[in-house]
Assembly symmetry: C2
């Protein structure tokens, strides 16, 4: 059996013998770009049913059909970790979303802070980055990327049962360990270049569910801080334990 190199995230339910119609864009990618022929294997996932080996049953210019043969991996859900981050320059914002999907975040919330330059994001493009990261990294889950929302509004509606790991760039120094913290619903909060305003910092410090942490003695860029903070959380409280 030829190894399936292509992984595709689909909306359709997956199961033994399941037949899947392809959209025009999917058909263009599989048959036009990747040159798959009838009988070619590929891997599918939909965020719910695990990973499945499928084969091309019909190939056309505008569509086609796949048939599911066998499950190749169970569904793996990430731990209940959200990432709140302030959008920065385009390439670094893309990077943060890609890395959060790879490292196993469940939900990605772009937030506007006092020092955030961006007043809008391309949510569809960021969602596509998260999907591509899952396709390329063997994931079976694609985190949802929310629309941009002001941090103050997000915090006003916050469920106090979800703790926030706040990468507080003013705490340069030894990184506090997360020893003593319990797993469960968490979010990581990363500020923009320039950090948080004094008003934001005062508000965050006053919230009982916010846990400030230092990420070492150096100033990190926002994208580095996002990867480092998710890594520390995953190793201490997530599914890397």
């Amino acid at each position: 059996m030829a190894a399936a190199k292509i992984r595709l995230c689909v909306d359709h339910p997956l199961g033994q013998g399941q037949s899947l119609p392809l959209t025009e864009a999917q058909a263009h990618y599989l048959f036009g770009v990747m040159r798959l022929a009838v009988g070619a294997p590929l891997l599918l996932f939909n965020g719910r049913d695990g990973e499945w080996l499928a084969r091309v049953a019909e190939a056309g210019k505008r569509g086609g059909t796949l048939t599911c043969e066998a499950q190749t991996a169970p569904q793996r859900m990430p731990p209940d970790l959200w990432l709140l981050f302030a959008p920065i320059k385009k390439a670094r914002t893309d990077f943060i979303v890609e890395k959060a999907a790879e490292l196993g975040a469940a939900r990605i919330l772009p937030v506007q802070t006092d020092f955030t330059n961006a007043d809008r994001i391309r949510q569809d493009r960021l969602q596509a980055h998260a999907l591509e990261a899952a396709e390329q990294c063997g994931g079976t889950f694609v985190p949802e990327v929310a629309e941009l929302a002001p941090l103050a509004r997000v915090l006003a509606g916050w469920d106090a049962g979800r703790r926030i790991l706040w990468a507080d760039e003013s705490l340069l120094g030894a990184a506090e360990t997360l020893a003593g913290e319990a797993p469960g619903p968490w979010a990581v909060l990363i500020g923009p270049e320039g950090g948080f305003s004094e008003a934001e910092r005062a508000r965050l410090r006053a919230l009982p569910f916010v846990r400030p942490v230092s990420l070492g003695p150096r100033i990190l860029r926002a994208d580095t801080a996002a990867v480092a903070a998710i890594t520390l959380w995953q190793a201490a409280l997530g599914d890397w334990r």
Copy 2:
């Protein structure tokens, strides 16, 4: 006193009252691009003498002079951590070097592995990326980027007193903690996309100074793995403790 926004890494010794001649490239950057005038403040570091506040004493098209006024931060050396990584696509290789400099690696060694596509790197460009990362992130140290060398040759000449944290992508599962390991000279080893060959894996497993670790249950891209592994090392054994 106006705050100095520009940080510049220089070769020259830094000290009270020290006068520094500028190269043509530095003069172009400071006076042509950044439009600094005589008397303007900037911050300098050279990897040895800490960070200094300096001012423009003379400004010309092809050169100029700075005068050091006062030390603003002590020299901070990173812990004795090297990063060995297999060069991948250009943007992701640049990214790995930038992040290693930010996170506090002391030396960066690009290595050719069995599955590495690159047979050469632009060492000068990568060194410039490390320098720029230090300038932008408030560092006073720039890690040296070595020339590309075959992994087999690097391992053949390895000092057994320096342990290697090997991100072994075949160990998908719970991340092992570094508890029980001692600080000291270490290196982090990250493979290319596609990981290490069976021969390389057998050799690494047999070396007494190599410590294989898992980076969680997901496949990570090489650039993500580099940031995650350095973060775990810094938090457990480095200067984030």
